[in-house]
């Protein structure tokens, strides 16, 4: 009887390993580069200061929104799980289109269409929302932070004046590791 129980445990373990091996390729489609980006999104909360008026209450959630194409999958949720920014618990919200868009503190725009991006940015105008995107001319067309790849490394482009206009205070440490566009 005991031997059987041991066997059952071993079988469970084997099925687990098998499952993970089978599942990995499915997640890897958004992996590595996007995982780094997801961590970067979280790290922005450490190096950027939001005005107190951006929150309804001292313990109101810090909302990270993802609009359009979501390249992170669950990884973003895993990254921010249980984390807090200045006593504000981190929350992820996903919006399918502009109509679903709500007030958020950081918005990753998964769009390549300049027109749609412009519309989203116009909607967000004068709000304390940090806008992030992979779009090529994002920092030159009203966006704040653009991810780009250089020598296999994810790098940042920051439009400082737009961020300042949104009353976001970006740490000089962050500015030092980024390309600044005015």
């Amino acid at each position: 009887m005991q031997n059987f129980a041991v066997l059952r445990k071993a079988a469970a373990c084997c099925s687990c390993i098998l499952f993970s091996v089978v599942c990995l390729p499915a997640q890897r489609t958004t992996s590595r580069e996007n995982q780094v980006k997801a961590v970067f999104l979280f790290n922005f909360t450490q190096f950027i200061e939001w005005p107190a008026s951006a929150f309804n209450s001292p313990d109101a959630p810090f909302i990270i929104g993802v609009i359009g194409n979501d390249p992170f999958g669950n990884y973003l949720d895993e990254t921010v799980a249980g984390e807090k920014v200045m006593n504000h618990p981190l929350v992820i919200q996903r919006y399918k289109d502009l109509g679903e868009l709500q007030t958020c503190h950081m918005l990753f725009i998964g769009q390549e269409d300049p027109q749609k991006i412009k519309t989203i940015l116009d909607v967000l105008n004068r709000r304390h929302t940090l806008t992030v995107s992979d779009y090529k001319n994002f920092a030159y067309s009203g966006g704040m932070i653009r991810f780009y790849t250089q020598e296999n490394k994810t790098r940042l482009q920051i439009n400082l004046s737009i961020a300042k206009a949104a009353e976001l205070n970006i740490s000089s440490k962050l500015l030092r590791v980024a390309e600044i566009i005015d």
């Binding site: 780094v36 970067f40 790290n43 450490q46 190096f47 920014v85 200045m86 490394k153 994810t154 790098r155 940042l156 740490s171 440490k173 962050l174 030092r176 590791v177 980024a178």
Partner: protein, 502 residues
């Protein structure tokens, strides 16, 4: 002495320099210990501060995976040459960036250790968390050598060495000047003591320079000298007294010896006189006795007639008379020897006048002339002086065959002349008395002999006399510390010279 002097200087200097040296070394040791610990603390604080700055600055590089930025940050450590190695670990604990460029990763710990800094051998190394907000993004590792400390301690060592050497020289010159306040009084005291022991001069005094223990020592030393000086002078005075006393005693002894000699001479002489006297007396006294004996026998044995018997008795009588005379003369002579009468001024003129009166009968009988005038006054025993003159005049009257002419003259003779004549050490002048007659005289060769007792030059039948007269004269003159001489020639009279102190 000089060597001893420098030795006390050296001792003082050695004490001062040793004290200085000990104090300096202790001070320097304390300073070094304090510096060592404070430097360790400071180094750790400095490294920690530096670590905090770099760790804080490196958060974005870690957060956004920017190795270039991390390298740039770490390369700023070039400004701190004692940082030999540094690296950043990422959140997962893998080496993210290293310093200096090209260093092997094996140099660094594989995983970050606990936060904080520790000394490992000659290195100070440690970990500093790289935190942004509440989020730990990585760890900084720093490794610093202690060259800074060694360099600093070398500098301190040099400074301390210079300070010690400088202080030593300063202390040396200062003590050379200051120790004089102690060593100089000691030197001067020692010099004084040496000079005293060399020259035996206890009148010297040490000079007191200070009112301290050395001053007290100098005072005590001077007091001692005063005492020694007083004792010395007392001893010298005592010695002088003693010497004087010895001189006195020697002189007294000398004098006593002289006196004894004089007395002894007198005794010898008187003994000789006595012997002669005994001999002569027995001979001279026996002669009349024998005569008496013979005539008595003859008168007894023979039947004698009246006439012859009368003659015999007459002879016996004359012998007895002569014997009586002899005994009287001897008694007179012996009495002179025992005389102890006081001297008194005696005028010889009066003495001679008295004698002239005594011999009045004989003078007129012999038709004699006695000339005397201006005789001196002599200090003496007047009876003896009378006897002296009497004997001399009597002799002159007696021993003559013609009318006697006697001249008595006198003059003063100086001490020098007396000395020349006798060899005496004469004091003061003498009176010379000359009794000159025209009697029978005598051969000059008997000039000494005549003064001996019972010495007769003539047969007693030719000239009456006992043989004592001149001996008596000599005795009297001797008693008066004078002397008597005679000058004569047979048949031409004689002169007697008497010298008596005035």
């Amino acid at each position: 002495m000089k060597i001893k002097g420098t030795s006390i200087q050296r001792k003082l200097m050695r004490v001062i320099l040793q004290t200085c040296g000990a104090v300096l070394i202790l001070t320097c040791t304390a300073f070094f210990a304090y510096e060592y610990y404070s430097f360790l603390r400071t180094t750790r604080i400095q490294l920690s501060t530096l670590g905090k700055v770099i760790a804080s600055n490196s958060t974005a590089a870690l957060a956004f995976d920017n190795r270039e930025d991390a390298s740039t940050l770490l390369s700023a450590l070039k400004a701190e040459p004692h940082i030999v190695a540094a690296c950043l670990y990422d959140e997962a604990g893998n080496v993210f960036s290293t310093y200096p460029e090209g260093i092997s990763v094996d140099v660094f710990p594989q995983r970050p250790g606990a936060d904080g800094y520790i000394y490992t051998g000659t290195y100070l190394e440690g970990f500093e968390p790289s935190v942004e907000g509440n989020k730990k993004l990585g760890t900084l590792y720093l490794k610093s050598d202690m060259e800074a400390m060694y360099a600093r301690f070398q500098l301190y060592g040099r400074i301390a060495f210079l300070v010690i050497v400088g202080s030593f020289f300063f202390a040396f010159f200062l003590s050379r000047r200051l120790q004089k306040t102690i060593s100089d009084p000691i030197h001067s005291l020692a010099d004084t003591a040496r000079s005293i022991s060399e020259h035996k001069d206890y009148g010297v005094r040490a000079t007191k320079s200070n009112v301290d223990e050395l001053g007290l020592l100098t005072d005590a030393f001077n007091q001692m000298l005063t005492q020694i000086e007083a004792q010395n002078s007392a001893i010298t005075a005592f010695n002088q007294q003693l010497e004087q006393k010895v001189h006195q005693r020697t002189a007294q002894l000398e004098q006593a010896k002289d006196e004894m000699e004089v007395i002894n001479n007198k005794l010898v002489k008187s003994n000789r006189d006595l012997e002669q006297f005994a001999y002569v007396a027995s001979h001279d006294l026996q002669e009349p006795l024998r005569k008496i004996h013979t005539f008595t026998e003859m008168a007894e044995k023979k039947a004698l007639d009246q006439e012859q018997q009368k003659l015999y008795f007459q002879k016996i009588k004359s012998s007895a008379k002569r014997m009586s005379e002899l005994i009287t003369a001897v008694l007179n002579y012996s009495r002179l020897s025992r005389t102890a009468e006081e001297f008194a001024d005696t005028d010889l003129n009066i003495v001679v006048e008295n004698i002239k009166t005594d011999f009045e009968l004989l003078i007129s009988e012999k038709n004699a002339t006695i000339e005397n005038k201006g005789l001196p006054v002599i200090k003496g025993i007047s009876l003896q002086l009378h006897q002296l003159c009497l004997n001399l005049i009597s002799n002159a009257l007696k021993f003559t065959e013609q009318q006697p002419v006697i001249q008595i003259t006198s003059r003063v003779v100086s001490a020098e002349d007396i000395s020349r004549m006798t060899g005496w050490v004469a004091n003061g002048n003498y009176a010379e008395l000359v009794f000159k007659d025209n009697g029978i005289g005598f051969d000059q060769q008997y000039a000494q002999k005549i003064f001996t007792i019972f010495q007769r030059l003539h047969d007693k039948h030719s000239y009456a006399g006992t043989g004592i007269g001149l001996a008596l004269c000599k005795k009297i003159v001797d008693n008066h510390n004078g002397f008597i001489t005679a000058q004569s020639e047979v048949g031409k009279g004689s002169a007697f010279y008497i010298y008596l102190p005035v």
